[in-house]
Symmetry: C2
Subunit: 417 residues, 2 copies
């Protein structure tokens, strides 16, 4: 109980005072949801949560909101002043809840370290996958189960666009449709570049593996350069295309990346269509569990934030543990889809496979198809180091019969799992 919380009449426990920073779409949805659910939360927890103060750009004082609060909820977004407010709140001994993925992915260690030093809780379920409770599940499962790998579809905008492209629309048509339906911003670059997904994977990897991971440690590629014919060939090979974030133990280190990825049809993420999020957690003990649901809308995000508030009220969260140190590995093995646009001449396939073989790239399947004066060669490789395949592709690109830059896309294929 905070000394600043006023006593309720009649000896009942005082309300649990929530100071709210930010009152945009998510902030106002949170404010409304908290009022709706306050009675039910009191029934379970013995105290009624109330919003004790609100800070927006145009009204309120941070110091007053802080002084009157048991807990601070930050829904402003952006780096500053959100970072400074959260650090100040934790130094004042207040628990904090945030939905700010930019801040957590770029300044996570500073926030975790401050929470640890001051013995307060830092909760951020809403920063990753909206109402899909992956943060909670990772935190609580972490000490019971050593996690080996996470694969996630953590950006609903790109998943919607790829679903539409799977139905034959071009990238531009699919993006326009996403914008018309409110799934994509007017400037979609943070989503389609993979950067938003990379920020979320940094947060998930930090949680799952206990090692500091920041946005700049995450390699990512977006979906802007994908071609419709790649999707058509992949369908022939029984593969579907998703923007997949992966965080996995590799060679004693940790690899975190976001790439467009072909998945075999039985993979738990393969059937996730439209503006949805899904995360698969693999470990030897639990084998594999998958969590899925809608990407973040205002009410879903508000619900995740309120869940964090309730978990602080029930005492169900701890200050973060000290970090471990796994080395970040960037050159990892993977299967690849390759697409070559070549002149239709004798000996072309032999020359390409010779170069691939020189770089120890072994081919699992090939589709060759004429296209007028040229031919398309589509291959799926067995797992190979990324550096090796990039070197091989660079050599192939130098042949005079290659008519446009070769394309490569990562593959998660059943036979290699």
């Amino acid at each position: 109980m905070s000394p600043s919380a006023p006593s309720a009449p009649g000896g009942a426990p005082p309300p649990f005072a929530v100071g709210l920073l930010g009152h945009g779409t998510v902030g106002s949805a949170f404010d409304e949801l908290l009022a709706q659910r306050a009675q039910e939360i009191e029934r379970f927890n013995g105290r009624r949560p109330v919003v004790s103060g609100v800070l927006t750009r145009s009204r309120g004082s941070f110091q007053e909101v802080l002084a009157g609060a048991d807990l601070i909820v930050e829904l402003m977004g952006g780096i500053e002043p959100a970072r400074e407010y959260l650090l100040t709140a934790m130094r004042a001994g207040k628990d904090v809840v945030s939905a700010n993925k930019q801040l957590l992915s770029q300044h996570g260690e500073e926030l975790f370290e401050t929470a640890r030093q001051h013995g307060v809780r830092l909760r951020f379920e809403a920063a990753v996958a909206g109402a899909v409770p992956v943060v909670r599940v990772l935190e609580e499962s972490l000490s019971a189960t050593p996690i080996e790998r996470i694969h996630g579809i953590v950006n609903g905008t790109t998943n919607f666009i790829l679903s539409e492209m799977g139905h034959g629309r071009t990238y531009d048509e699919a993006l326009a449709e996403a914008q018309a339906r409110g799934f994509a911003e007017a400037d979609p670059s943070d989503d389609v570049s993979g950067r938003d997904a990379a920020a979320k994977m940094a947060i998930l990897a930090r949680l799952a593996f206990g090692t500091p991971v920041h946005l700049e440690d995450v390699r990512y590629e977006g979906i802007e350069h994908l071609q419709l014919d790649d999707l058509a060939y992949a369908r022939e090979l029984g593969l579907g295309l998703k923007l997949v974030g992966s965080a996995e133990r590799r060679d004693g280190g940790l690899s975190v990346h976001v790439y467009p990825t072909f998945l075999y049809s039985g993979h738990p993420l393969a059937s996730v269509a439209g503006p949805f999020n899904a995360i698969t957690v693999e470990s030897e003990t639990i084998t594999e569990i998958t969590l899925s649901g809608p990407g973040a809308g205002g009410r879903q995000t508000a619900s995740a934030v309120l869940g964090d508030v309730v978990s602080v009220m029930t005492g169900g969260a701890r200050p973060p543990a000290p970090p471990l140190a796994l080395e970040m590995i960037t050159d990892v093995h993977s299967a690849f889809y390759l697409h070559f646009d070549v002149a239709d001449r004798p000996g072309v396939l032999a020359k390409i496979t010779q170069v691939l073989g020189d770089h120890e790239v072994s081919i699992g399947s090939v589709v060759q198809r004429g296209s007028g004066e040229g031919a398309r060669l589509v291959m799926v490789t067995h797992p190979v180091l990324e550096s090796g395949i990039r070197a091989a592709i660079a050599r192939v690109a130098e042949f005079d019969f290659v008519r446009s830059p070769p394309r490569m896309i990562r593959v998660i294929a059943e036979e290699f799992m």
Copy 2:
């Protein structure tokens, strides 16, 4: 900290003493996993968990195990003496963890009430869906989000059998395969009758809706009577067959049941194949989230039990809240698949549809097919009260042109969602 826990040397916090009741498959897997993970758990929680005593049929004393423990883990199974031990432990002020679905589904209110009276925690993640953390998610989301409906595939054995039947095997062949692969017991009746799933749905419904629900409140049907041709017709209609448990608010009350159910192909549970579990939670706020993973094996169950132990150590669980009281509703609206085996005569379809219409059963689609001297009529209805369709079917069964008992199977169809 329990007064009975011995102090560790050097002023470090004493270990967290776990008294273990039962040392079969799950008990020994838990014992082993706890030893493997003790150091990591200590890193996060400041105390190291140890198994301080074990009770089996042949060794140990319950009173001694209880006296030396901070927390009791019950992995014996069955009703007695598990029930008496858990009640005694809670009355002695100890937190308890159990994986015992029979006990929780038949004596849940007594256990919840005892936990509430004595202010102790009662955790049971492993009793429902193995390593799939649905109990935790429901408990923690409950006060933030009013849940409207849960659909679950909560029995891996029957899901495996139905997957095999979907590939053209008969029920008997599929059951034999499940037994050969260790997914079904020698006596599979608890699984194939739907009773095991009903017990789990009782526990889930209690959690999600805060209302006492016991096994005897749950209507259930099994999969023993399903016919291969029902599956074939359903495929033509774009539907797949699962044993689905449902708990939902209906007409101000609560309906909980387990039935073989046809799902449209886009439903989140439709793609769950093999010995897996999956649960979909729907609410207005979060729309819909789905959790899936392997059905319970020894190590998955042990992992869920250890997760419960860790959540007690972190203080992240509360004694149960007092129950609410929603009325149990048994006669609910649903769409149905109907199968009639009739003599191939003029006027048959008209007579059947006349009877259905008299009972306000409206038909969404019909497939008619000759089969030598007879014909098969397959229909999918629009949503209708179960009592209404049962009355209609009973009337149809009296016609002399009906050659075998009509069959009906519940449908969850996209156009009605």
